[in-house]
Subunit: 108 residues, 2 copies
DNA sequence: GACATAGTTGCAGAGTTACGCAATAATATA
DNA sequence: TATATTATTGCGTAACTCTGCAACTATGTC
């Protein structure tokens, strides 16, 4: 069913449609981090980070590995990073376009 | 501000976090289509398609061009298609993983 | 101007998501 | 076993999203 595919794909997008979850993805870009380390770098509550991590895990964006008292999170598929990078490029090109427009308006 | 970037990026993801909007993006993959043509291919109400198109346009994912009574929509940046394709690859790899797992469980 | 066609907008309801707070689970150590 | 640390879960509230329906706007034709 084609509709089913679109729905599943939208779930992945939905997972990445939150600034904190994107920040988590970027924090994991260069390798594994524990939940505690991620919490520290985001500067929000443990509970909140934990919930976002659960969403990311449910969608298969991250995978986990327990080591004693710590749980290590990592990006499960590097293509996710690539997709994020592309979207950021789109964003930056949009911002550049807008900037150009503003400059043009100013000189007229 | 870095947080602002994550927020903007999440807006783009949010725009793509809906099965119908993804279907619209895929319908526009091979070029321009009018709102009516998109409505036909999706098989939902005109009003609903129009609202999804408005969301896509507000986020800069699509751009428009009026020609008489018709409004032509197109993807504004081909990188959006690339990003979608990558996410679909991620999805397909996930599904393949799951399939493998099921096969393993069956043979045991 | 009257009418048809193409598309958009406003609104209300049903449903979903995000976040803080408190409680709980899992592991390690004394 | 008691305690500390790390992380997750449940719950309530506020904010947001999706959709259908009806009303509206814009363009073209008679």
């Amino acid at each position: 069913m084609k509709n089913e595919l679109f729905k599943l794909q939208s779930e992945i997008c939905k997972t990445m449609a939150n600034p904190k979850r994107l920040e988590i993805i970027y924090a994991l870009k260069s390798g594994e981090r524990t939940a505690g380390e991620i919490t520290e770098s985001l500067g929000v509550s443990k509970a909140n980070v934990s919930q976002h991590l659960a969403v990311l895990k449910a969608c298969g964006v991250v995978s986990t590995r327990r080591e004693g008292v710590n749980i290590h999170y990592k990006i499960s598929n590097p293509k996710i990073i690539e997709a994020c990078a592309l979207m950021r490029e789109v964003l930056i090109e949009q911002l550049e376009e807008r900037e150009k427009l503003i400059k043009t308006l100013k000189t007229v």
